[in-house]
Symmetry: C2
Subunit: 300 residues, 2 copies
């Protein structure tokens, strides 16, 4: 099975209360694909500028991520984000955003990528996401992410997307903004009524909630004491989830729950260092070991 991710590829500058990194590898499609690659083949579609260090592409390739769809646009600059985390490491402030090449990102998929069965529309405008969705007609499962920005400025396009998408992964604050419900269970169910077959509501350090017609459940985050940089936690969560679903070739309720657990575990590693630094140190067996501990933690 093949998993296609379309989204941002970025150079991030991150400040935490105790450390700082400038221009490190980031972007939703990067965290996603690196996490998904533990489970399945991944094809990444994105755009970067002439300032893009070739070594980043090599790193992705070294994990067998197909980067044929990563286009280097001459004369353009890569998307850059600078953010600062509060002492609680859950709330963050965006200090600078330079969309650069990402501003007009509107990918035309290759013939090969159009045949993908599993599709994840990572961070990007709903208009762009809809454009990509239409290029993958034979998909088994399509899931999207979104952001408060798009809820505010492209609500209609987002609602159109939600009527056609199978699943959505979004933050608790975004679900509140989208639905007007402050109670997270009500907010999750209200998103479900907008069209998708399932909704995954991410709560940062508090884990994730899942909603479908038949089921509501909560999964706590794995309690790691070593939170160094939460950037990419949501994207690596989605990557672990979608990678596992792709490896299983279905999104039955049982598979979805296992997929959310794997997403939780990958994200718990991702936050333990800046950029992809922690994920670069671990293998699938590390995920499986922590998953076993997590399962034991939740059983009584």
């Amino acid at each position: 099975m093949s998993l296609l991710v379309v989204g941002s590829v970025a150079l991030d500058s991150v400040e935490t209360p105790t450390a700082k990194r400038d221009n490190v590898l980031g972007g939703s499609a990067v965290f996603f694909s690196y996490a998904a690659a533990y489970f399945s083949e991944v094809r990444l579609v994105g755009e970067v500028g002439a300032d893009w260090p070739a070594e980043h592409t090599e790193l992705l390739k070294s994990r067998k991520i197909d980067t044929a769809g990563l286009r280097v646009v001459e004369g353009a600059k890569t998307f850059r984000w600078r953010g600062k985390y509060q002492p609680n490491m859950n709330d963050r402030e965006t200090l600078e955003v330079h969309l650069n090449v990402f501003e007009n990102f509107n990918p035309k998929l290759s013939a090969e990528n159009r045949k993908s069965k599993f599709l994840f529309l990572a961070n990007g405008s709903p208009v762009m996401q809809l454009g990509v969705l239409e290029q993958v007609p034979d998909r088994t499962l399509a899931v999207c992410d979104t952001m408060d920005l798009w809820i505010n400025i492209q609500r209609d396009a987002l609602l159109a997307l939600l009527r056609r998408i199978d699943g959505i992964v979004l933050n608790d604050s975004e679900a509140k903004l989208l639905t007007g419900h402050e109670n997270l269970v009500q907010a999750g169910r209200a998103v479900l009524e907008l069209g998708p077959k399932f909704v995954v509501l991410k709560k940062g350090e508090h884990g994730a909630m899942f909603f479908s017609q038949d089921e509501t459940f909560v999964m706590p985050a794995y309690p790691t004491p070593d939170v160094v940089d939460p950037t990419g936690a949501g994207d690596s969560f989605a990557g672990g989830m979608m990678g596992y679903l792709t490896s299983q070739g279905n999104f039955e309720p049982k598979t979805l729950k296992e997929a959310l657990a794997y997403g939780t575990i990958v994200a718990s590693f991702n936050v333990e260092d800046f950029s992809l630094d922690r994920m670069r140190q671990i293998e699938r067996s590390d995920l499986d070991n922590r998953l076993t501990a997590y399962k034991r933690m939740l059983s009584f």
Copy 2:
């Protein structure tokens, strides 16, 4: 086995974004004992004033709570609290506090109560809590709660209490205040180093975390869509937990985990209406049914 709770007995006035109640039955020892009574015999020790409606005592007695230790102080007034919840129903503002009779609360336990095996020191000053602890020398298990107020103004007494107590139940914000750690896993472990055998860190709508020398685990809150009034959630959680431990007569790791799950379930009912109104409608079987759903929710 017998469970003794010592703490506040109050008349609460509560405002939520959609409703308001004045002078309803509340207080830490009340929520605690009502919740614990689903599992074991409970003895309540507290003080109220001449303004205390006798029907409240009758209600507690109707659940077989032993109220012999509930002292009505002539010429005094009952502890009153007025609070307002934010739209997210997790954050609240205290609008008024009149400690009244609770200000000098310093109970002398009866000979019968001194023989209690399970003890919960609910909301109250650490000095008072230490005084009660000394009166129950043959205890099997003593657990305390605390509040930001006591961390700020009676830190030394609280630290002395923590060196002698078996377990503590406290909010995430209180654990951060007490230890200076913003990461909850680090904060929980730091509280553990202050003396207790186990620490339960309550996260409101996000559930609870548990810490002992051998174990760290997280339990999410049961996802109820009907959050009407969160007042007493933490106390009913502690009541369910301690009531179950008392019914089992031990605090082995397995029993503790089950106890936290029961605490989670009782609290999820408690928040579904004001005061004790929701708990008054349910029986032990309702708790067991929801516990079964909760267990299923957490297994994969």
